[in-house]
C-alpha cells in the first residue's frame, strides 16, 4: 500500500529544493562570505583604512586577527586561495616566508562587502533598538 506517497513526495521536493539552493550563486556567495573570518581577512589584505591593498605574512594576519586560531586562519586562507580570491606566495628563505595578497576578484568582492559595511553602520543601530524594544515589551 503506497500510504507513504505523500511523505515521499515531500522528501523529494525538499531534495530538489536543496539542490536548487546549493546551485544558486547568491546562496554560494552568502555561504562564502559568512565564514567568520573571510570578511576580516579580505579587509586586512585590501587595506582596512584607506590605504590600498597590501601583502601580509601569515604571522601578520594572525596578529591582526587576534581571535583566530591557526586552524581556522589556515583553513580560511586555503579556501580563499582555492577560490581565486587571494594568492599565496612562498619565498624559500630560511625560515620560509609566506605572503598573501588579494586578487582583482577579491578586491571586487571586497567592494561589495563595503556596501554591506555601509548599510550596517547606517542601520544596525535601528535594528538593535528594535531588538531591545521587542525584548522589553510583554504580550
Amino acid at each position: 500500500m503506497p500510504t507513504t506517497t505523500a511523505a515521499q513526495k515531500r522528501a523529494r521536493a525538499k531534495l530538489e529544493y536543496d539542490a536548487f539552493l546549493a546551485g544558486c550563486p547568491s546562496r554560494q556567495l552568502l555561504d562564502r562570505i559568512s565564514d567568520k573570518w573571510v570578511a576580516l581577512i579580505l579587509a586586512a589584505l585590501a587595506g582596512d583604512d584607506s590605504t590600498g591593498p597590501r601583502s601580509l605574512r601569515y604571522s601578520e594576519l594572525s596578529r591582526r586577527l587576534a581571535g583566530v586560531s591557526q586552524k581556522m586562519l589556515t583553513q580560511t586562507l586555503r579556501s580563499l586561495e582555492r577560490d581565486g580570491l587571494v594568492t599565496r606566495t612562498v619565498t624559500p628563505t630560511v625560515p620560509v616566508t609566506v605572503t598573501y595578497d588579494v586578487t582583482d576578484l577579491g578586491i571586487s568582492l571586497q567592494r561589495v562587502m563595503l556596501g554591506l559595511k555601509e548599510w550596517a553602520e547606517a542601520h544596525m543601530g535601528d535594528v538593535l533598538t528594535n531588538r531591545e524594544h521587542y525584548a522589553t515589551r510583554e504580550s
Copy 2:
C-alpha cells in the same frame, strides 16, 4: 611563579577581540543575513521577480521555501520581526490568519542583498572555475 602570564595575556587579548567583533555592526549584519533562510524570506516578501513587496501568509511562505522546516521558518520570522525587518499581522478569522510584510528597513536591506546577488551572478562562475582548477592540479 607567574609562568602563565603569556597564556593569560593571549586569552585576555582574545576575549577583548571577540568583544570587539561582537559589537561590530558589519559582523552583526553578516551574522544576520547569513542565516540560511533570511535572504529567501526577504526576497519572497520583497517580490522575487520585479513586482513590488507583497504580503504572504505563513503557509504561503512555507510553500515557497520548500526546504524549510516549520521550526526554522517560525524562528527566522520571529527574529526578523524582532529586528524590525518584517511585520507580523494576526487576523482573528477562524481559523486564524497570519500575514507577514517587509518593512521599509527590510526593503533597504533587501536592496543591499540585491547587490550581493549581482556580484554572485557576475563572478561566482569564476570562483567555481578556480575551485575546480585548484582541485585538479597536483603539487
